[in-house]
């Protein structure tokens, strides 16, 4: 008999956790990931009004993990919105690794830095993560770094208030001068370093110096100046209004998501400025002090979160390693290359048009509505993902020992992204070539043409271009590109032709084809029976074999 005291008791929290974990790990009939992100509503009692209200939450976890760590975050998105956003995320292992890292660090107010190749989807997932928290169409505040980035774009700068266009141009010209910029930095430094001044006195000092600067350049010394905040203080104090617009409050703003991209390209002075947002215990700073405004502090709202992203150093020629101080001050996650499995999964999603965007009516230029034939899409996905991978590898190994490889003799890099596949898939809908003999879609030629347009025409290295053209031809039509299809080894061209022929048939033709195949099968069966009959009558065939043949005959019947 079971001792009732030994039966493990599960609290409602444990049961809820198990249910959420089950939903996070949910898979479809073919093993496809359905979970990863779960939406739930909860009733809560407002402590102020004592009224019951509904709060919305999302749970994010990596469904590929046996025991995923699940993060719960409050959301402004509806159930329908979360479902729609989920459908737009290709459920690759790498996507969930990134989303999980975003959710965990966001919850704990820790800045996150992800270093990963261009194809991995950092920008896209930052956008989706923002949508998961705020609703469809809401984008993070994005800032892209380059070698040209100026600290003032990130932090703050003084700009003159001018009335006429002519005056504006005059000022812009003056402010762009290198010596003006140096002087502006010196003014901020003087305001910061002069001891014993109140905030007002510091601001007054800045104004005096700005006026002197303008006068020295022959511009009106009476010009009024205003401080323009850059991306960092703005994100710290942003308020998202109910109509979707933004306003700013340096003290009471809620804060928003700031995505700083390609941080590896930033110059050291930009990195120094970014280090200001590091706070205690690995968290984001609660406030920053800007000397440009006389040392006034900007408070970080509770929803301020900074996400940095960068590509691996080997993808650039002139790119620095991530600054060690920045790397120490953030949660630093290095991602590897997209796996071949993930690459194929992405290709399958694009070419079977699972991510939406199917036309309602057959568009002009469309011979076969390819988006309604996932069986063809899956075969295309195999070809394109293999080609994409081959080119990606070739771009990385070429370059004659240069850091990062790439095409020989060029400065610019062309790392491939999943967008390249997406473009081919979308163009395939209405940019199709007709086979002049059959009148049907010539899928092989269409694919060759689109791959050329989107992948190969960008290449400046003619040798690489020719090699990749040959590789594509071999993949589609050559002996080594043959694969097993319905029990036969066929080239992809042949497979495409068969699939297109089937998909292009009318209902009547399809019935006729089925009838014809049935007849052929019937004929084949009769032929086998005849052969068996004649073998059974042959006195030279041993009894054991005849017994086996009898069994086969029975099975045929």
């Amino acid at each position: 008999m079971i001792n009732p005291e030994k039966i493990p008791f599960k609290s409602p929290e444990e049961l809820k956790e198990e249910e959420i974990e089950r939903k996070i790990k949910e898979r479809g009939p073919e093993g496809e990931i359905l979970g990863g992100i779960v939406f739930e509503e909860e009733k809560v009692i407002d402590p102020k009004t004592n009224e019951e209200r509904i709060k919305r939450y999302i749970y994010i976890g990596n469904p590929y993990e046996e025991r995923p760590i699940i993060t719960k975050l409050e959301t402004g998105a509806s159930r329908e919105e979360v479902e729609a956003i989920k459908r737009e995320i290709i459920p690759m292992k790498e996507s969930f690794e990134i989303l999980e890292a975003m959710a965990r660090t966001y919850k704990h107010r820790q800045p996150l830095l992800i270093e990963g190749s261009t194809a991995i989807g950092k920008t896209y997932l930052a956008e989706k993560f923002t949508e998961l928290l705020y609703g469809r169409g809401v984008k993070p505040l994005d800032f892209y770094c380059s070698g040209q980035t100026d600290v003032s774009e990130l932090m703050a700068k003084w700009v003159p208030k001018v009335e006429t266009k002519k005056e504006k141009r005059k000022w812009e010209k003056f402010l762009k001068l290198a010596k003006t910029r140096v002087k502006l930095i010196k003014i901020a430094q003087e305001a910061a370093q002069t001891e014993g001044l109140s905030q007002e006195q510091r601001l007054a000092l800045i104004h005096t110096r700005l006026q002197e600067l303008a006068e020295s350049a022959g511009l009106s010394g009476k010009t009024q100046w205003r401080l323009q905040y850059g991306a960092v203080p703005k994100a710290m104090g942003l308020i998202r209004n109910p109509d979707g617009s933004f306003s700013f409050d340096a003290q009471k703003g809620m804060g928003f998501i700031l995505h700083i991209e390609e941080v590896g390209l930033a110059e050291p002075q930009v990195i120094d400025a970014l280090l200001k947002i590091r706070g205690k215990r690995g968290q984001l700073a609660n406030e920053i002090q800007l000397w440009e405004n006389g040392g006034k502090k900007i408070k970080a709202g509770p929803k301020f979160w900074a996400f940095f992203s960068t590509n691996p150093p080997e993808e650039y020629v002139a790119r620095n390693e991530i600054d060690p101080a920045l790397a120490r001050g953030v949660v630093f996650k290095r991602m590897g290359e997209l796996s071949e499995e993930s690459l194929y999964l992405a290709a399958e999603y694009y070419f079977t048009y699972k991510l939406g965007g199917k036309p309602e009516e057959k568009p002009e230029g469309c011979i076969l509505e390819i988006y309604n034939h996932p069986e063809i899409g899956r075969e295309i996905a195999k070809v394109v993902s293999v080609f994409h991978n081959q080119l990606n590898k070739a771009l990385k190994v070429k370059g004659g020992g240069e850091k990062g490889g790439g095409e020989k003799g060029r400065q610019q890099r062309i790392p491939l992204t999943l967008d390249d596949m997406a473009r081919v898939a979308d163009a395939l809908i209405d940019t199709q070539i007709r086979n002049k003999e059959t009148g049907r879609l010539d899928l092989t030629e269409t694919l060759k043409n689109l791959i050329h347009f989107y992948y190969l025409d960008r290449l400046a290295d003619q040798d690489l271009k020719e090699t990749m053209e040959d590789n594509l031809k071999e993949l589609l039509e050559g002996k080594s590109g043959r694969i097993e299809f319905e029990g036969k080894m066929l080239t992809r061209r042949k497979i495409f032709d068969i699939l297109v022929e089937r998909a292009s048939m009318t209902e009547e033709e399809r019935k006729e084809e089925i009838e014809r195949t049935k007849k052929e099968l019937e004929q084949a069966k009769h032929n086998v029976e005849d052969e068996i009959m004649s073998a059974l009558q042959d006195p030279n065939i041993p009894k054991e074999i005849k017994n086996e043949l009898k069994k086969i005959k029975k099975q045929l019947i």
């Binding site: 800032f143 892209y144 380059s146 617009s245 939406g356 965007g357 062309i414 979308d426």
Partner: protein
């Protein structure tokens, strides 16, 4: 322009008009590259594009500030026209930021612009942006290493 180039240009415009990348349904920015030794004049290309779509030209050179280029792009988009942006100097940070916004989100996002803390403007359905530059210039003068990544279709003119 040779007939073959005209055909390629027409295909290029068609792809920019029609192709919306999954899953965000975003349109691409286009790049026209003038190869070394090409006899084609930029005016010729611009005029040819104008025959297909309503387009305005901006020349990004030493005489113009990024802020002015951004103002012009906003104006052209407000008129639902296409932008033909000829690049003749290295792209500075303000313009690069907006090109990246357009490429990633089909949207301009500016801080403290036109009286708004955050100004966002979606690229109109009937507008696109095409960048024109010489191959040699792209390879040797553009310091941003992922310039080509900003664009979808690339048309190479020899």
């Amino acid at each position: 322009m040779k007939n073959m180039d005209k055909e390629k240009l027409s295909m290029f415009i068609h792809l920019l008009q029609k192709v919306q990348k999954q899953p965000n349904q975003t349109f691409d920015l286009g790049l026209i590259v003038e190869e070394l030794g090409s006899q084609i004049e930029v005016e010729e290309v611009f005029e040819e594009i104008k025959k297909i779509v309503d387009t305005e030209r901006i020349v990004y050179d030493e005489k113009i500030f990024d802020e002015d280029v951004i103002d012009k792009i906003v104006d052209i988009f407000r008129k639902n026209k296409w932008v033909f942006l000829e690049i003749k100097k290295d792209i500075k940070s303000p313009l690069l930021n907006q090109l990246k916004h357009l490429a990633n989100h089909n949207c301009l996002q500016l801080i403290d612009y036109q009286g708004k803390d955050i100004f966002e403007m979606k690229m109109p359905e009937n507008s696109r942006l095409i960048v024109f530059a010489e191959r040699d210039f792209i390879e040797n003068k553009i310091s941003y290493p992922h310039f080509y990544r900003l664009f979808g279709p690339t048309l190479s003119l020899k």
